[in-house]
Symmetry: C2
Subunit: 199 residues, 2 copies
Amino acid sequence: MSKPMPLPLPVAFGAPTERADAARNREALLCAARQIVAAEGIDALTMDRLAASAGVGKGTVFRRFGSREGVMGALLNEHARAWQESVISGPPPLGPGAGPRERLIAFGASLFELNRSSTELIAAAGESVQRSYATESFIATHVRYLLRSAGVTGDLTLLAVALIAPLDRRILDQQVRIEHMDRDRILAGWADLVDRILA
Amino acid sequence: MSKPMPLPLPVAFGAPTERADAARNREALLCAARQIVAAEGIDALTMDRLAASAGVGKGTVFRRFGSREGVMGALLNEHARAWQESVISGPPPLGPGAGPRERLIAFGASLFELNRSSTELIAAAGESVQRSYATESFIATHVRYLLRSAGVTGDLTLLAVALIAPLDRRILDQQVRIEHMDRDRILAGWADLVDRILA
């Protein structure tokens, strides 16, 4: 009788590979989702469509994201994460290398874009899809840091809230879509607010 | 054959009385609703309970308000309307008779209370219950008016948004309930913002 073949060790050796596969799989799905949204708009992003585009079974899509809202939440947070990278280590004036006032103005403009771009996604997914707490707290911490760098004294936590709050996506949506204010006016108003707080 | 009796004119004569009855009825129901909420909290406010307290049939409550959310929306807007009266014609410094800075500071404190008091109601009723557009636009108009009275120049529409936005009920709820900031700190921060904008 021949000795049995040694069994493979699926957990100890298999798990890292499985995790790497899962990450690649997830990335491929998010990439397909982004392409669908960019080409045809959010309404076209269904679980069936996403599975077909990514060449996987619908079960895989559900396993990764739970629901259509789950896909949208993942898109939202991935976008926010990439944006965060550009604030931390991208080129100035958004990234390091410019003065605090210049960085604040650039930050406001880029937060405007981030919040505007998330409006459609959140509207389609329902208010249950929100930006992560990590992103919200990054935004607050970064503004506080720039205020401190600019030599502002006072309750910097509350001053940061005062700068971030008018760029809330609901407020921007009302201003842009209902009141037809243009981006330049909104950002000029925000820069004025920055200057009054820095003065 | 006798002449037919003249028909009563139910619309022409009946309607005003019916409207006055309806208004009284509505007021009695809202009053009962306020008492239930004050004594036992929002969870106790059900359509059955409200009908029993007001001594009317459940059908009447549904006819007046449509749903439990409808009662809550009516409470919210009635409260906002009473508050609006006190800003327009109540005693200073909230009402007329104080200087614009003093009125702004009093307005911020009273908007804080209004927004805090609506948080529980909106949480219980769901986000579909919102303050009316009329109230929102009163708030914006009043702040713009006080800024103009204080001699502030610039984009007063956006500066008013910048003052109102940090007092949003969602932000206040986060600050008070999650971050345990106290009211005095939040209002001192807001007064500092006013002074930076008025400077």
